[in-house]
């Protein structure tokens, strides 16, 4: 911004290719440098290179390993998220609307919030073993707090006049809830969902990775587990990089999907 005195390099039609060129210049340069660096190494090196990563991606996709692991991880995230959504919505509504519930539960919520999901994992393993239920509980725990706090915040900020107006007009409580409170709290619910889904996706990778690392591996599946197998057994760094890129792309898609939903569902309300 302060650099406003610098002349803009081009105007008109040429500016569009230029922005695209600028956007891909540095990533392209880094990729080429990485490839050249890898080509300079001895032929039997384990170091990853862009070409080998691409080949690995094609191989893992065609073999069905990658899609399967991805489906498993995403399935766990969705299931864990839904558990958190049910708990977060109901508790968040209660805490947002009822004083004594909020006063009673807030200290407990606040004392659990700084405990990272991964710290709960050893306990989850003790109770549930190293399979899907333990992973699910970690995901649900990670997704619960952003949901709860945002729902509570959204609900407690609903204009009391709206609720009173609805009651004055004889609207039954359930209808007040579905037609007044929920729509008004919707932006917060969606924001909480997006943040929750982001933490859930991070948590599932961590949980699968740690279960693989500490429980001997091979039992729980998922993309985090796949990364651990590449690390500990087949020593396939290209496979690890493939998984990292896939994890990033999924995170991006989740984020974009929720942002899109926010735009569509909230835009109509902002305009009025």
């Amino acid at each position: 911004m302060a650099n406003s005195l610098a002349p803009s390099p081009s105007i008109g039609l040429r500016s569009v290719p230029l922005t695209i060129w600028r956007a891909i210049a540095l990533p392209l340069l880094l990729l080429v440098a990485w490839q050249l660096w890898a080509m300079g190494l001895p032929a039997d090196t384990r170091a990853p290179s862009p070409a080998k990563v691409l080949a690995g991606f094609v191989r893992l996709t065609l073999a069905g390993d990658l899609p399967l692991a991805l489906i498993q991880s995403i399935g766990r995230v969705v299931a864990g998220f839904l558990i958190a959504l049910v708990l977060g919505l109901s508790l968040g509504l209660a805490m947002g609307r009822i004083r004594w519930v909020r006063d009673g539960l807030e200290p407990i919520v606040e004392s659990f919030r700084p405990i990272a999901p991964m710290a709960i994992l050893p306990i989850a393993i003790l109770f549930l073993g190293t399979g899907t239920p333990a992973a699910l509980s970690i995901v649900a725990y990670a997704a619960f707090f952003p949901l709860l706090l945002n729902v509570m915040h959204g609900v407690s900020r609903v204009d009391p006049k709206l609720v009173l107006a609805a009651r004055t007009m004889g609207v039954p409580p359930l209808r007040t809830f579905t037609h007044v409170i929920l729509p008004a709290a919707m932006p917060s619910v969606l924001l909480g969902s997006r943040l929750a889904m982001g933490s859930a996706w991070t948590a599932i990778i961590a949980a699968e990775l740690a279960v693989g690392a500490k429980a001997g591996g091979g039992t729980s599946g998922g993309i985090g587990q796949m990364m651990f197998v590449f690390y500990a057994y087949s020593i396939d760094l290209n496979g690890i990089v493939v998984c990292m890129i896939v994890v990033g792309v999924v995170a991006l898609l989740i984020d974009r999907a929720f942002r899109g939903a926010e735009r569509i569902l909230v835009r109509g309300r902002e305009a009025t």
């Binding site: 540095l26 990272a116 050893p122 740690a210």
Partner: protein, 285 residues
């Protein structure tokens, strides 16, 4: 859940009467006021949690899965008195501090550059946006290869996690500086370095501090994962160590310690935020 309950308490809270509220008013006013105050409510909640926990542990009757509260507090006193807890907590917070310092040293100058130069932003931002969705956790296997199990791995992971919120908030802060301020300073012949230091820096500071708190929160969540998998010491390692030994009371003790240290650090940062940028609304962070 009783939806009418919402209405009832909403109204009771705003002073209106109904049958249930009238009934409860028969309890002595002062006692009710005392029981309803927030610290008392907090104590009451913790007593309930402890009671439920104790009950569940008796019902579960498996001290390896769910130890009773006294066993956990004994374990907490045990690890606290022989210095082991303090040592692990110091190791973890030391790593945290180191990685936050590295992240600030890298992200804040880069953020100033990207915030002030459109061209730098256009070139560098795509790389940032490519790396950002890859969570720090996903770097752990590759980092294990590069750095091995040790001090470097958690510091690397936490620096990576802390880098992005700091960078993005610095860019946003620098970009949010009013152009008129900068132009006024330019008109008066203030040097470029002085503009950065005296005009842009103070104006961007609130946003940077918010970025720092987000960076801390992310790094604190990542440290447990990083230490659990790839470090020979620290709070995260201790949890996993005692899980393998099936010494559950000590796992619980360390989980409490993680929560406590995280809470204290967050409070310290909030204090820092108030001191550094007292003019901003602290609820923003």
């Amino acid at each position: 859940m009783g939806l009418s309950g919402f209405d009832h308490h909403d109204r009771a809270g705003s002073g209106a009467l109904d049958a249930a509220a009238a009934l409860r008013r028969q309890a002595p006013q002062r006692l009710r006021a005392a029981l309803g105050s927030r610290p008392v409510a907090a104590v009451r909640s913790f007593v309930v949690v402890l009671g439920v926990w104790w009950g569940l542990s008796l019902w579960n009757a498996n001290p390896i899965q769910l130890p009773a509260p006294p066993a956990v507090f004994a374990a907490l006193a045990n690890v606290a008195s022989d210095g082991e807890l303090l040592e692990n907590a110091m190791i973890s917070t030391g790593r945290l501090a180191l990685s936050l310092v590295i992240a600030v040293a890298m992200a804040v100058p880069l953020g100033f550059w990207m915030g002030m130069s459109r061209r730098a932003h256009a070139y560098i931002d795509p790389v940032v946006e490519m790396l950002r969705p890859i969570s720090g956790i996903a770097w752990i296997p590759l980092a294990l290869f590069i750095f091995g199990v040790g001090d470097t791995l958690p510091v690397f992971i936490m620096t990576y996690v802390a880098f992005f919120p700091l960078l993005l908030n610095t860019i946003a802060g620098v970009r949010g500086v009013s152009r008129r301020l900068v132009q006024a300073a330019e008109t008066m012949g203030v040097s470029r370095a002085a503009i950065v230091r005296r005009v842009i820096m103070p104006a961007a500071l609130p946003s940077i501090v918010v970025g720092f708190r987000l960076a801390f929160a992310g790094a604190w969540a990542a440290i447990v994962a990083a230490e659990l998998i790839g470090a020979p010491s620290g709070l995260g390692f201790a949890i996993e160590w005692y899980r393998q030994l099936l010494m559950t009371p000590k796992i619980f003790a360390y989980i409490m310690a993680i929560g406590f240290v995280g809470y204290v650090c967050d409070q310290l940062l909030q204090g820092l935020q108030r001191r550094l940028t007292p003019w901003t609304d602290r609820s923003r962070g």
